[in-house]
Subunit: 187 residues, 2 copies
Amino acid sequence: METVERLIRSTQELLWERGYVGTSPKAIQRAADAGQGSMYHHFTGKAELAKAAIERSSQELKSAAVEQFSGSGTATEKISGYLERERDVLRGCRIGRLTADPDVMGDPELRAPVAETFDWLRRELAGIVAEGKRNGEYPDSLDPEQTAATIAAVLQGGYVLARAAGSVEPFELAIQGLVNLLPEATK
Amino acid sequence: METVERLIRSTQELLWERGYVGTSPKAIQRAADAGQGSMYHHFTGKAELAKAAIERSSQELKSAAVEQFSGSGTATEKISGYLERERDVLRGCRIGRLTADPDVMGDPELRAPVAETFDWLRRELAGIVAEGKRNGEYPDSLDPEQTAATIAAVLQGGYVLARAAGSVEPFELAIQGLVNLLPEATK
DNA sequence: GTCTATACCGCGATAGAC
DNA sequence: GTCTATCGCGGTATAGAC
């Protein structure tokens, strides 16, 4: 694999695990098996590399979601399929994690892909809910934007609970709890 | 205020804003208006001080929750009261934030109060849901542990979405979405 | 209890050789 | 493109004076 690619992927991993503040250029070089000079030849510094890594993670997250959303099935099937798909729960969300990092949120270049990812996700989910309403699967009273935000939040919050507990259990409880609250889930 | 107290409170603030990795002893001293020697006289180092700060934040979080839970009202009233109470949404959760910090999660002394806080919260919420079932407010099919995890997750995830967007809006959407999904919410 | 001095190390980046 | 040398700074802690 090329050096640039290794640098980006190593940065993705380190940002996921340790965040921006906790990730040093030296650690990235070690993980990517690249030298100091090499890294600074391809990127102006830590921030630019992080930007590339975050944008890559964002793309990957969206691709994985699209795969779940684009199949056939009812809205509830799509939503629960997305929620229940296999995940590395205890590692949490690569993008959501960054919202805790003041250096990321304070830099417009780094923040933008984070904001955009969740905007996109909520719009997608709202579209699925709206489609469910048109189908008659969901009652008219259900608000797509609210419900979409709730779904995305349960996922992000589920990671937090799981990491706190050191166990996937709370995550799975939270997901199942939400699925069971969705209209017609027990039909 | 005494030096120890100022040190603990300053550490709480900094952990909230910047996390464990992002918080230096020097920054704590500055915020607490205490000298180097003073800090190391009262605490063995950063870790011990962080432990005190985390335990304090945990107590405060629980006290605030107890206040919401102990009043009278239906289960849904208690839950939505808790969810909708005034919060510093864009700052996020002082305790939940720490789950992103590998140095916190890797140290049993620091991790314990984080784990315990969410265990406690989920038990409290599950108790309220169970009470709602006994009252006939909620159907027998509702699982208290699942629902409790969902409620806690929406809160934690709501913070993530809000911080990502730089706006409280997604938080409020997620909360309202959940409240509207709770059984009988529209009764 | 609080102060200043000191120490060691790693961070983040730059410079210039190869 | 990649390497090594070097730089200034701040993190984290210890030592000993007051």
